[in-house]
């Protein structure tokens, strides 16, 4: 990948891969919308609200994937100390938080009509909310008022720790639910992708997940591009100031 080998000293330019992904994502998004809203049949029990499910599941998958990328690039930053790894981890965390916010807003909209309650302290929901808070904290570290090397180090360390926490949170709350509280509201909306899906619905779901993943990569590339422009602008500014002083 060209993206990773760059040394951040040159003024960045949009790569071909970037443009391909971008122009691919537009028709895919439209197709995904068509599949979700027109192609698939209306669900018998929940009605139209069920349509939200495709984007809900896709966003959840992309959010987890984004946080996984954060952890991987955090470890790589601590080992190799290349700024581009830190940039990628940071952008990925921001995208992950956006997608988690989508999950946390579409979830209650769906839940209101399916469970007749906006929110339930069910394992999946609680875990996702905690995950959301963890990566908001991660972004707050990235906005600390210290030199970028320090910030990058702290963010990497925090990214690793919070990712280790994810399975623990997930398991612990699962445990809590099964031992102390009966599951009142079924297995939660997110779990339904198992067995009983209509083939057309399953196809729409898989397609939406794929589209959202493409969108993630488009956003990631765009974010990294903007971040590199920022770094470059910073560098030019410093150079200019030196020139003025000297």
């Amino acid at each position: 990948m060209k993206l990773i080998n760059d040394d951040l000293t040159a003024i960045p330019e949009e790569t071909l891969l970037h443009r391909i992904l971008f122009y691919l994502s537009i028709p895919m998004m439209l197709t995904a919308l068509y599949l979700a809203f027109i192609y698939t049949p209306v669900e018998r029990v929940m009605g139209v609200v069920q349509k939200i499910f495709y984007f809900h599941v896709a966003s959840a998958w992309v959010a987890f994937f984004a946080f996984f990328i954060v952890a991987v690039f955090s470890i790589m930053y601590l080992v190799k100390r290349k700024r581009i790894y830190d940039v990628i981890a940071g952008i990925s965390a921001e995208i992950g938080v956006v997608y988690t916010a989508i999950v946390l807003t579409t979830g209650p909209i769906w839940g209101r009509s399916a469970w007749n309650a906006w929110w339930s302290w069910e394992p999946r929901l609680t875990t996702t909310l905690i995950l959301f808070f963890m990566y908001i904290a991660y972004i707050m570290i990235r906005h600390m008022d210290v030199a970028w090397e320090k910030k990058a180090r702290f963010a990497s360390v925090f990214g690793i720790i919070s990712f280790i926490n994810v399975p623990i949170v997930f398991m612990s709350i699962r445990w809590w639910n099964s031992t102390l509280h009966p599951v009142v509201l079924g297995e939660g909306g997110v779990n339904e992708s198992g067995g009983g899906l209509e083939p057309s619905m399953l196809f729409a779901l898989i397609f939406t997940v794929f589209t959202m993943t493409i969108l993630y990569f488009v956003l990631l590339q765009k974010g990294v591009y903007i971040e590199r422009l920022k770094i470059q602008a910073e560098r030019l500014k410093e150079k200019f100031q030196e020139k003025l002083a000297g």
Partner: protein, 227 residues
Amino acid sequence: MNNLFRAAFIIAGKDLYSEWKTKQVVTTMLIFSGLVIVTFSFAFDPSNNAVRAIIPGLIWVITIFSAILGLNRSFLSETKNDNLYGMIVSPTDPSSIYLGKVIGNFIFVLIVQLISIPVLFLLFDFRFFGHLPLFIIVVVLGTFGFISVGTFLAGLAANSKSSEMLLPILLFPIVSPIIIAAVQATKILLIDLEQISSAISWMQLMGAYNLIFFVLCFILFEYVLEV
């Protein structure tokens, strides 16, 4: 290895000694926990029998919020006169600084708990019929997990100008499993003794969490202190 523990005990001893001289941190934490108890006594009528159910949660609310006060101080006090820099350049492992700070903070919080939990039971007229040794183990395990992650993140947050604001936001999501486990186990041991086997499994979770995070923080602390 021996050197690591020696340096850690020296740092912890220094913290405890300066605390003994000034009595600033523990006093503040104790006053704060007392105020929390008073506030809760207004919020929930202590004569009401249903209040028994909130005692386990109350124990951890007191612990967490008073511990935050101490954690905020533990590295900020070192930034004065560049003490932290002195520690970094001294010929010790960075992990021993972490270990020393964990020991110091852990002892502070245990002292606060030793006083505030009996006071809480007394003021809410709570008669203890639970399993005392297991209860003590749960309190120690939960506090240790909270302090080991908290000390690590306090070291991280101390670099920011707004560290008092940053620390709780970083810390609470990360320690949520240990808080959930601690509250659930305490609830069972204080109120619902029949379910003691599930309390044991909560304690196993706490043990595993403590082990993973202590080792991880121990290894990663080097990166936090690097100049």
